[in-house]
Amino acid sequence: MRDKPLLDWAWVFDHLDDIGGRSLQHLQLALLAVAAGLAISMAVGIIVARRPRVAAVVIGVSGILYTIPSIAAFAALVPITGLSTLTALIPLTAYTQLILIRNIVAGLTGVAPEVLETADAMGYTPRARLLRIELPLAIPLIVAGLRVASVSTIGLVTVAAIIGDNFGGLGVFINDGLRNFFPTAVYVGAVMSVLLAVLVDVAFVLLERVATPWSRLPATVVETGGA
C-alpha cells in the first residue's frame, strides 16, 4: 500500500456513480434494520415498561444478542435464510434491540408519576394515555436511542459484505480495498459511512425538534429558587 497514494482522486471521480449507489444501498439497509428494530423494540418496550422484572430479563436477553460477534451472525444465517436481504437484516435488527429497548423503557418509565396521575384523573384511557402522554414525553430518549442505534448500524452494515456485494453497501469498498491493498477504497468506504451517519444523525435531531416543540422554549432560567 505504501507505493500507492493514500487517496487516488481519479479513482474516486471515476466511481462517483458507484459510490453513490453503494451509499444508497448502505443507507437503505441500515434504515430498514433500524425501522424493523424500532417496530420490534417499541412493541416489546411498551409491553415490558410497566413490568420492571420482565424488562430486566428482556434487556438482559437483548444484551446477550449484542455479544454475538457480527461476522459469525451473518455467516451462520446463510444456510438458513440464504443470500437474502433478510440474512443481512436479522443480525442488524438484533443489534439495535439492546439500545432501543433500554431507551424506550427508560423513556416510558421516566414520565413523571404526577403527569400520569393527572392524565388518569382527566379520564384518559390507558391507550390514549400511552399515545398522547407517555410516548410523546418519551420521544427525546427514544430519539437518543435511535441516533446511537442507527449510527452503530451504519457501521455494522459493512460487515454484511461477507454475504455478497449486494448486501454490504460500503463494506464492499472496504473489503476490496483490503484484498487489493487499495487504500482509496477503504477510505472512501469509511468516510462515506461517517457521512451517512452524520446525515442520519442530523435528520434525527431535526425530527426530534419537530416532534417535541415544547422542548424548544428558550431557556430563561437564570436564578434558582423562583426569584
Binding site: T220, V222, E223, T224, G225, G226, A227
Partner: protein, 410 residues
Amino acid sequence: MTSAIAPAPSGATPEGGSGRAATVEFVHVTKHFDSGARWSGTPGALNDLSLKVPAGRICVIVGPSGCGKTTSLKMVNRLIEPTSGQVLLDGVDIESRDVIDLRRSIGYVIQQTGLFPHQTVIENVAAVPRLLGWPAAKRSARSEELLALVGLDPAAYGTRYPAQLSGGERQRVGVARALAADPPIMLMDEPFGAVDPLVRERLQQEFLRLQRDLAKTILFVTHDVDEAIRLGDQVAVLERGGRLAQVGTPEEVLANPASDFVARFVGADRGLKRLSLVRVGQLRLREPATARVGEPATSVRDKVTGAFPYVLVVDDDGRPIGCADPDQLTGDGSVTASGLVPASPVLTPDTTLRDALSMLLTAQALAGVVVDAAGRATGVLTIDEIGDWFRMEAGRLRAGPSGTGMPAVG
C-alpha cells in the same frame, strides 16, 4: 443550646474580618446577563443596587420572580460577578479577595439544600472544614455539635444519606453545613421555600433563636413577604428590572411603602402584617381586677374598672380560672369557681398582635388574658389597646424613621 456553640476556631475564618459577623455593602452594583438585550428585559439583572447590611443583622431581600434577588446573593460569594460596581465585606472589595478563601468564609443555604447525595449527613456538614484541612476528629466533633444545634440527634442522623431525610431535616442539615466553619456571613436563598407551612414556621422560629445566639450577618432571599417581615431586621424590596424599590425596617416598609409597587407587593393586608411585628409583651398591659376563689364578692366588685368590666378569677398560684361578671357576684357572697366564663383567649408575651387579634375575633371576646411562662396572669389585652397602638405608631413614624441604625441607601 447556647452552650453547644463553640467559639469559632481560629483557622475557620482566615480573612473573615470581625470573625463573627461582617458588614456587607453593595455599591452601585449593576449586572446584565445578555449584553444584546436591554438590562430590564433579562430576568435576574440588577440595576445600580446600593445597599448596606450591618454586621450581625438579617437583611431579607424580597421581590417578585426575576427581580435579581438571587443574583445579588450570588454576587456576595462571587458565583456571579457584577458587570459594574463593587461588593464590600467589612469595607474590603471582594474582588481583592481570593475567591476560594472568600467562599469558605461565607455560609450558603439554598432551597434545594444542595446536599451532596453521595455523602452522609456528617460528611455533608463537615464539607467546608474538610476543605479547610481540619483534622478528622475536629471535623466530626464540629459536625455533631452543629447537628445538635439545628435539632438533629447526631447519633440517629449522622450516618444517614440525604435521601433518607425529610424536607425539613434536609434544610436543617443544609443550615448546619453552612455554619460548619463559623462563617461571619450567611447567604440563604429561600431556604424554607420547599417545606410545608407548619415545618416552615418552626424552622423560622428556630432560625431566629439560632441567630440570637450566633449573630451572623445574614442575607436572606425570599419571595414571601410574611417571611421577610418575620425574619428581617432589614427588608430590601427589589422590583422587576433589578431596581431597589425600598429598604428599611419591616415596620417602615409596611407602614410607609415607598411606591405603589411596594404597596402592592407587600399587600393590602399590610396593616395586619404590621401587627405581626409586635408582640403582646411590648405593649403596656392593663391590670385586670383579679380575685381568688373564696374572696368576698363586694371587695372584688369595687376593683372593676370600665375598660375591662370583668373580674379575673385566679387560683392560688395566680393562674387564671375564668372571668366573672361583677353584676352576677351577688350580695355578700364570696367568689366561687362555678358559673365563670372561661378565661379565653389566653395570650403570652410572645404572641404577636396579629395572632392575638385573630384569637380575640375567633373567641368573640373583647379581651384576652396574658400569662407568663409559669401560667400566671400578668394582664389583659383588649381590642381597644390594639387600636391605640396603631394610632401611636402612626404618629411616631410620621415623626421620622425609627432609628434602628439602618440608613436606607439607594
